[in-house]
């Protein structure tokens, strides 16, 4: 994720996509979409572990915590499907 972030920043600074055409050309290469997908996959597991730890510490009520954890899990799955569809249709 750290490497992807640095490459993303470098590409933005070098290619400076300012128009819609530029932006598509920036996002469309198959390897970039693949990298983005793997970045998001890593992001999903990273966010899950992080938010889970935070909820464990700050939501003492087990029932409420379980509901929140399930909501977080659901959200992360929805985001993953969402980005997958966006990248496939790009």
């Amino acid at each position: 994720m750290a490497i992807y972030s640095v490459v993303l920043l470098a590409r933005v600074l070098v290619l400076t996509p300012g128009s819609y055409g530029d932006w598509l050309a920036f996002s469309q290469p198959w390897w970039w979409r693949l990298a983005t997908w793997f970045f998001w996959l890593s992001l999903s597991s990273h966010a899950w572990l992080g938010v889970r730890d935070v909820l464990k510490d700050y939501v003492p009520n087990v029932k409420i915590r379980m509901v929140l954890l399930k909501l977080v899990m659901l959200a992360l799955w929805v985001y993953l499907v969402w980005i997958t569809l966006l990248l496939c249709n790009l």
Partner: protein, 137 residues
């Protein structure tokens, strides 16, 4: 009271183990500040994910929507949010690398840890500043 506490502790240590997670009553040395901000920024970034996805979807859907995103991003409120998220990202990034370094037992003495904490703040602030400047030009 003391006796019963001690007794409870010997039978069930979990029940009476003191725990204090109230952030407003804990003294915050710089290392603790980096650590808690790593959490706070992580939460902020997590909450920003749907915003990021919506923005990305709009930006790739058509030329007019792309223009809309560009216009929205130039509003003062959006700039403020972007600046906050940019700092959140950079702080989380550098503090995360610091944690990874410590996982492999690098810079784990107190003096070194304080030094790397300061580095996290300096680098996070600097990266945000540079991004803001490049945004303006």
């Amino acid at each position: 009271m003391m006796n019963s506490d001690r007794k409870a502790q010997s039978t069930n240590p979990k029940k009476v183990r003191p725990k204090n997670l109230n952030l407003f009553t804990i003294r915050m040395p710089i290392n603790a500040l980096v650590s808690i901000l790593h959490r706070v920024t992580g939460c902020a970034l997590f909450l920003a994910l749907p915003l990021l996805l919506v923005t990305f979807q709009l930006s790739i859907s058509s030329a007019s929507k792309f223009q809309l995103v560009q216009d929205l991003m130039h509003s003062p409120l959006a700039k403020l949010i972007l600046l906050g998220l940019a700092w959140s990202f950079f702080h989380h990034f550098f503090a995360g690398i610091r944690h990874l370094a410590m996982d492999v037992h690098w810079a784990t003495t107190l003096i070194k840890a304080r030094y790397t904490s300061k580095m996290v703040f300096v680098l996070g602030g600097l990266a945000t500043l540079l991004l803001a400047i490049s945004w303006v030009f």
